[in-house]
Amino acid sequence: MSEPLLQVRELITAFDTEAGLVRAVDQVSFEVAKGQTLGIVGESGCGKSVTAMSLIGLLPQPMGKILQGEVLFKGRDLTRLKNSEMRKIRGNEIGVIFQEPMTALNPVHRIGKQIAECFLLHKKVSKKKAWESAIEMLRLVKIPAPELRAMDYPHQLSGGMRQRVVIAMALACRPDLVIADEPTTALDVTVQAQILDLIKRLQGEMGMAVMLITHDLGVIAETCDEVVVMYAGRVVERAPAAELFARPLHAYTRGLLASIPRMDTPRKSILPVIPGMVAALRDFVPGCRFCQRMGRDGATLRERPPFIQVAPGHWVEACPICYAATEL
């Protein structure tokens, strides 16, 4: 792999709550290579969105804090930047796509103006040039009649069209990295297919890297080169996508894959399930948190299992119970 574009090292993000500091992200490390797509998958509360917000300095304030770790983007540690410096990177070198386009767009401004703003803010161009570039972006994300649509307000567009506008804004300054947090979760399946196809096509044309955060393993399988599986604030497995789906090694990854009904699952059969649920943030044990969910007690709950590389690029949290080493 060439020099990674983004390197996250031992990141710990905590929230100041009434119960004290609780760690939503607990020593998470991964890399995103230039032009590649990294998927981060996990269930609600696993820390995948908090990880993304930590990278781009959008943690809820004043509760959210990065306690430890580095986020190296093109060699600079983003955790050390001032807000003003971060603003120059966000929307310029790093584009962001959120789940709900209606909250990402300003309801009282025309969409053309909102996209043009990206150019005015980051690229020192005239207003006229910025407006023209905005229309060009709308054309790029396949919005029909972009000159007319640029005059619309967000509420005049459908959900899919709004998400296209958000993508146009995220990509306006030709970023090196796009962070997409559940970009298609609120959309219908046929519209989701359009949006995923659009992101993939633009990635091919512009060569940016994508960090895609989702709970949907199907979306991951269709779009990602590499996958990070998070559980309870930690990475439990990380592998190239083809490898992960063919040879999942952590009990959580296996359980998750087995519990999804597929087209060829025998109809009306009882699905394999992962029993129980994720513990509350403040109750997380220091050791293996999947053992905690399975109701085990003993040594594995006390000490954090090592994160080891078992095949080229295939890493797994090696809890003696949850890591199926025997299958290797």
């Binding site: 399946v189 046929t190 297919a193 949907d216 199907g218 999804i260 649920m277």
Partner: protein
């Protein structure tokens, strides 16, 4: 087919659109626009479609939470199309509903015991002691501890709340449950737990389900037959395997190809649709899907009868030249295939 537990005929639910200075009626939303279906005892009919296709409105009209504009709904041999709330009360025992968001469908100020006991009290089932025993039994059946009964909905996770919603629905041993997106809001690992519970309850109690969802893999897993809805109409209905392995309607084919499957297969062919589902306020005059894909035969469908035809035994599909292969269209229309 056995005598159906539920029979819906040409059901229409239109909502007025108000506008102008005097809030007069300026149009109508044709949420459900001529739907017919049957559900047999013990059967699950899956209903899939994208948002705004009218699937939830159809479910609500069936349980009489929304008034029908035209057509009929018969439940257990009785026509309930215009039965009022009082008339429905004895029937509620047999006809229940599970909602997508258990946060909104459970009264936040009632303890779980009160929530589960309420239907028993309303229907005069047993005395205080037997009701308390039944509440415990229900909690146990849906996999919640007996200690849950003194807690309140907000103290539970989404999956647990959905279990409470299911416990309430089965409290009176119903015959049919309309499930409106019961697992859509749940995490993957919890979703399979709830699906298993619904399957087990069906086996034990002989329940029928109308299972409404947008997730096709989930619907296929739980259903015996599947109906695909598009803009207020059912466009295809058949045995679940048949719909998934031999889809006939262009919309069903597009929906199926759009499902992301959790395995890496980069050669998969996608049918990418352009545009969005059209608005049910001013729907296209002819074939709604033909209009979306700008089919060259769209003009022919204006004013034509696009109702469901049985293309193969038990496999019903809209007689729509825009949405069928020329071969299937020839079968449906008995049109002589033209040599080009």
């Amino acid at each position: 087919m056995m005598t159906p537990i539920l029979s819906v005929r040409d059901l229409k639910v239109h909502f007025p659109v108000l506008g102008g200075v005097f809030s007069s009626k300026i149009g109508s939303v044709r949420a459900v626009d001529g739907v017919s279906l049957d559900i047999a005892p013990g059967e699950t009919l899956g209903l899939v479609g994208e948002s705004g296709c009218g699937k939830s409105t159809l479910g609500r009209a069936i349980v009489r939470l929304t008034d029908a504009t035209a057509g009929s709904v018969s439940f257990d041999g009785r026509n309930i199309t215009h039965t009022g709330p009082r008339g429905m009360r004895p029937l509620r025992k047999d006809l229940q509903m599970i909602f997508q968001d258990p946060v909104e469908s459970l009264n936040a100020r009632h303890s779980i015991r009160e929530i589960l006991e309420e239907p028993l009290i309303i229907h005069g089932v047993g005395n205080a002691a037997s009701r308390a025993a039944r509440v415990k039994e229900l909690l146990d059946r849906v996999g919640l501890p007996a200690s849950a009964q003194d807690r309140y909905p907000f103290e539970f996770s989404g999956g647990q709340r959905q279990r409470v919603g299911i416990a309430r629905a089965i409290a009176l041993k119903p015959k049919l449950i309309v499930c409106d997106e019961p697992v859509s809001a749940l995490d993957v690992s919890v979703q399979s737990q709830v699906l298993n519970l619904l399957l087990e309850l069906q086996r034990e109690m002989g329940l029928s389900y109308l299972f409404i969802a947008h997730d096709l893999a989930v619907v296929k897993h739980i259903s015996d037959r599947v109906a695909v809805m598009y803009l207020g109409k059912i466009v295809e209905m058949a045995d679940a395997e048949e719909v998934y392995h031999r889809p006939k309607h262009a919309y069903t084919k597009a929906l199926l190809s759009a499902i992301p499957e959790p395995e890496v297969n980069r050669d998969k062919k996608r049918i990418l649709l352009e545009g969005d589902v059209p608005s049910p306020i001013d729907p296209p005059k002819g074939s709604a899907f033909g209009h979306r894909i700008r089919h060259h035969r769209y003009e022919e469908t204006i004013g034509a009868d696009l109702s469901l035809q049985e293309l193969a035994p038990g496999h019903w599909v809209a007689a729509d030249p825009c949405c069928l292969t020329p071969e299937d269209w020839a079968l449906v229309s008995k049109e002589v295939p033209q040599l080009v």
